[in-house]
């Protein structure tokens, strides 16, 4: 196998703060690598072509579609999934707000929705409901009708802003 046509790629990255080294199939999607190889089943594969957002993860600070990125592209990357964000309490206020407001039903979209919402919240502005809706319009939820999700994100944005001022 020549270097140009190799079908396995060596990658070295951090996932949820832990170093990971792996030899991955060249065609393997990041979401499959996380789910199948690392057992990180929190993010889900749903449409598998970048529309629904159920596979959203954080890569180098950005919310990224796990189904549109190859594992081979992750060499050197810093990757966070819902598992790591939970373990480090990075988004516990957002998670608590989702539970309190029942901003999830079946929960399949939720890990991706939380990563997308955190991307907006982490900018530090106080987004309007319309801005929250716009930012989350890349993440399908078929259960809730979205309003509870918008409520939850809005309450966290207000809570964080209040905290910042105090």
């Amino acid at each position: 196998m020549t270097e140009m046509f190799r079908d396995k790629v060596d990658v070295s990255l951090t996932v949820n703060g832990e170093p990971v080294e792996a030899r991955v199939p060249a065609g393997q999607h990041m979401i499959d690598f996380l789910r199948l190889e690392l057992g990180l089943t929190g993010a889900h594969a749903s449409c598998e072509h970048g529309v629904c957002g159920a596979c959203t993860i954080r890569v180098d600070g950005d919310a990224v579609r796990g189904c549109l990125m190859l594992a081979a592209q992750a060499d050197g990357a810093e990757v966070w999934t819902i598992e790591g964000l939970t373990d480090t309490n990075a988004i516990s206020d957002l998670q608590d707000a989702f539970v309190a407001r029942n901003a999830l039903q079946c929960g399949y979209c939720t890990p991706g929705m939380l990563v997308a919402a955190e991307e907006l919240l982490s900018k530090g502005d106080l987004p309007s409901r319309a801005e929250i809706r716009e930012h989350l319009s890349g993440n399908y939820c078929r259960c809730t009708g979205y309003e509870a999700i918008i409520d939850a994100v809005e309450s966290v944005a207000q809570g964080r802003a209040g905290k910042g001022k105090a």
């Binding site: 998670q95 029942n102 890990p111 979205y146």
Partner: protein, 793 residues
């Protein structure tokens, strides 16, 4: 002891309060366990080669190339699986005349829709199985394709199943009163054509199943994303020749169902059959294209309907001619005739009138099979009824709210039987309408609408009253011969430390079943909801039950849980009375403590009672029962269904240049009887509304005339997204059913039932000054511009 529901300060008053969902925390932490998250030792993956054409004879099947793919272990054809799995025929005896041919897990001689599974490939990885499936070569000899519903019965249309004689699957005519005579003499007759589009559920978790067959034990274990584990247990047992006691269906977390996951799918049965043949765990996870071509579709209806009213706006008669195409097979075991049948049952539902005729004609075609999807038939019937009522109001110059008030059953009229022969135990149309008017401030909104129109903005207000069928008895399926349980059961157990476990036959699909059960059991026993562990979705553990469908979880499963909990309470108090030398009737359980009923004085923690019963039973009187496990079942007996009611309103703006509809606000007043958890009910209503809004504005499966599905991806089949959806205000009237102590009726489908009609009426309210009207869903910009005469080609 009966529960004094009217006293919110009663002890253990958890029923009627917002209690957090016990399973929500794990889901926000990514700790849910959906079928695709499960990996078993020696597990294999199956992928399917599916029919690329809508109707063809299956010729030679060449699997050599597929077998050569690294990792492929075995390939199965329809003939292979027919030897180990019996076919099914989806008919019900009470739907007279319904016919459908036998269906196999894989097509045997003929493929009848694009997506029908033909060959199964089993490999060590999903990627290998999918690659190999794409290399299976099948000679398809094209057969004539039937796609159009309205011409399916024409003489020159080919018959899809020649052995059935024609393409008619089912027809039902219901007639009450003298419809023709009334239409001839009525003050005003309004008629219209309606169309509802083909939808599908788009569950974010695709259909998923992992089946393990252990030949040494003779036991099958299926991890299945399903709404009805016991029904599936029965199906696998019957068609794969296994005793029911040795089929275990485990339904863990499910990523959305909405009716999609309550049916028997050929590829899922094939997965089970293959597991039995190979003696290894086999996993099938549908990909998104498979979801679009093989998840059931629904709501592909074309309707001609008319209404007759007198000069006072009183409804005199309705006449509905409904047609629907269901694909080539009726879907097992619920059948595909139910949706049309529901249209006949539900049209005119809120209104007190005498003369009613409705016919549904259900035909075969070469498209994906249709079956029950959230709010089965309701969105169609409500759109027909409420569309006609609005048109009649406009024709006689009456306000749409006023015409409804003049026709809705009086709130003190019940029980009544509708002209469709539906029995209503108790509804609240007028109270609901009054509450809606107050909540939305109807008069102010009308003023705002008039103000906006002066500025050239076309805003509309749409009202839709509705009824919803919930808590079904065996009249829905059982009487027709289907082994689908209308009964449900619950086992409630006290463990030694005083904590409680409840095992229920209803399932959790995200709607909040576990929270609902935890608070019902908590109140029934006398402990905190956090001290109740709820277990659902395991046929070898829970009592037999129907699962989640037809908005039955709270009404049926909740009542079984309440009665089991109360039985456990009595058992506990019987032991406590012996231990405390007290009268059991003078004791109560509150917050996990046995207390004096009158004074509330604490007498003994449940933990102490548990210690004695489980470890020092020798100290109790020999004959004292100490059964700290109780099971109760519940089934409705007096009414075939517990109908609910409600009314929705939509406020929106139509851009008459682009045809784009902007939803401004949506309201719903709903009466589901006793509300067990206000937050969960409201969120069911909101989620349901948005699913209905999707049908009204976006969702439509397209086929070409060859039966090719044209928009099988999430990018092409539009569903509601966050940015386009309105905020929704939800309110309730509570008319508990007297069939149960709990008094709960269903709430899961009301939002979907009424939302499309409300939007249609609002759009037409906006367009009325321009003389335009739309009745074909979804109301796309193109259809609106055509109605406005701005597109003519």
């Amino acid at each position: 002891m009966t529960i004094p529901f009217n006293n919110p300060d009663r002890p253990n008053s958890y029923i009627g309060k917002t209690v957090p969902r016990p399973n929500a925390s794990k889901l926000v932490q990514g700790r849910g366990r959906y079928v695709d998250d499960i990996v078993l030792p020696r597990m294999l993956h199956v992928a399917f080669s599916r029919a690329p054409v809508a109707h063809a004879k299956i010729g030679k099947i060449d699997v050599d190339e597929a077998k050569a793919v690294k990792g492929v272990l075995r390939v199965f054809t329809g003939k292979d699986l027919a030897e180990v799995c019996t076919p099914w025929v989806a008919v019900l005896a009470h739907l007279k005349g319904l016919k459908s041919p036998p269906e196999h897990p894989l097509a045997v001689d003929r493929a009848c829709w694009v997506g029908e599974p033909v060959v199964a490939v089993v490999a060590t990885t999903r990627a290998a199985a999918e690659e190999a499936a794409s290399l299976v070569m099948v000679d398809y000899e094209d057969l004539p394709v039937v796609t159009d519903t309205m011409t399916a019965l024409d003489k020159d249309t080919p018959v899809i199943h020649p052995e059935l004689g024609d393409n008619l699957a089912f027809r039902r005519l219901h007639e009450e009163g003298d419809v023709d005579a009334v239409f001839e003499t009525a003050h005003k007759v309004v008629s219209a054509s309606f169309r509802t589009a083909r939808h599908t559920g788009v569950t974010l978790e695709p259909r998923s199943i992992l089946v393990d067959w252990n030949p040494a034990e003779g036991q099958m274990t299926a991890y299945h994303a399903t709404q009805a584990p016991h029904m599936m247990q029965t199906v696998f047992a019957k068609h794969l020749d296994i005793p029911e006691s040795r089929v275990r269906v485990i339904c863990g977390d499910v990523g959305g169902s909405y009716g999609i996951k309550v049916h028997v799918y050929p590829d899922e049965v094939a997965t089970a059959a293959i597991a039995k043949v190979m003696g290894r765990p086999i996993k099938f996870i549908a990909d998104r294209l498979e979801s679009y071509t093989t998840d059931i579709h629904a709501r592909d209806h074309e309707i001609e309907a008319k209404i007759a009213v007198d000069a006072d706006g009183k409804i005199l008669a309705m006449d509905v001619d409904d047609w629907t195409g269901i694909g080539p097979y009726s879907v097992y075991p619920r059948t595909s005739a139910i949706e049309g049948n529901q249209v006949v049952n539900l049209c005119g539902g809120p209104y007190d009138f005498a003369n009613y005729r409705a016919q549904t004609t259900v035909v075969f075609q070469n498209k994906t099979p249709t079956c029950q999807y959230r709010a089965v038939g309701h969105p169609i019937a409500v759109a027909i009824t409420e569309g006609l009522v609005d048109m009649a109001a406009a024709a006689i110059g009456m306000d749409p709210v006023e015409i409804r008030r003049r026709n809705m059953y009086a709130d003190d009229a019940y029980p009544v039987t509708s002209p469709a022969k539906m029995k209503f135990e108790g509804l609240s149309h007028h109270a609901s309408m009054d509450k809606l008017m107050e909540m939305m401030d109807y008069d102010a909104l009308r003023a705002g609408q008039a103000e906006a129109r002066k500025k050239g903005k076309y805003r509309g207000i749409g009202i839709a009253s509705f009824i919803e069928l919930t808590n079904p008895s065996p009249f829905m399926y059982g009487i027709g011969g289907a082994r689908i349980s209308a009964q449900d059961g619950c086992t409630v157990r006290m463990d030694p430390d005083g904590s409680v476990v409840a095992l229920s036959g209803v399932t959790e699909q995200g709607q909040g079943t576990e929270a609902m059960l935890s608070q019902v059991v908590a109140e029934g026993v006398g402990v905190k909801p956090t001290n109740v562990r709820v277990i659902t979705g395991d046929t070898q553990v829970t009592p037999y039950g129907g699962g989640t469908w037809a908005s039955r979880g709270a009404g049926i499963g909740g009542e079984a849980a309440l009665q089991a909990a109360k039985a456990l309470r009595n058992s506990i108090l019987e032991v406590a009375a012996a231990m405390l030398q007290a009268d059991a009737g003078k004791l109560d359980i509150r917050d996990g403590q046995v207390v004096d009923m009158d004074s509330g004085e604490e007498r003994m923690p449940l933990e102490e009672l548990g210690r004695i019963v489980y470890f020092r039973g020798d100290t109790l009187p020999k004959d004292l029962p100490r059964e700290l496990v109780q099971t109760r079942h519940f089934i409705t007996m007096e009414y075939p269904f517990a109908f609910t009611n409600g009314v929705q309103a939509s406020y929106l703006e139509v851009d008459t240049d682009t045809g784009v509809v902007t939803l401004l606000k949506h309201w719903c007043i709903e009466d589901c009887g006793r509300v067990i958890n206000p937050q969960l009910v409201d969120e069911q209503i909101r989620g349901g509304i948005v699913q209905g809004l999707g049908g009204a504005l976006y969702e439509e499966i397209h086929y070409d005339e060859d039966g090719q599905l044209l928009n099988g991806s999430m990018a092409d089949y539009l569903v509601p997204m966050a940015a386009e959806m309105p905020d929704m205000q939800v309110g309730h009237v509570e008319t508990p059913t007297k069939e149960s102590e709990l008094g709960a009726k269903g709430a899961g489908e009301a939002g979907t039932a009424g939302a499309p009609a409300a939007v249609m009426n609002a759009i037409n309210d906006a367009l009325r000054p321009l003389g335009a009207q739309v009745t074909e869903m979804p109301f796309t910009p193109e259809r609106i511009l055509r109605a406005l005469g701005k597109i003519n080609d």
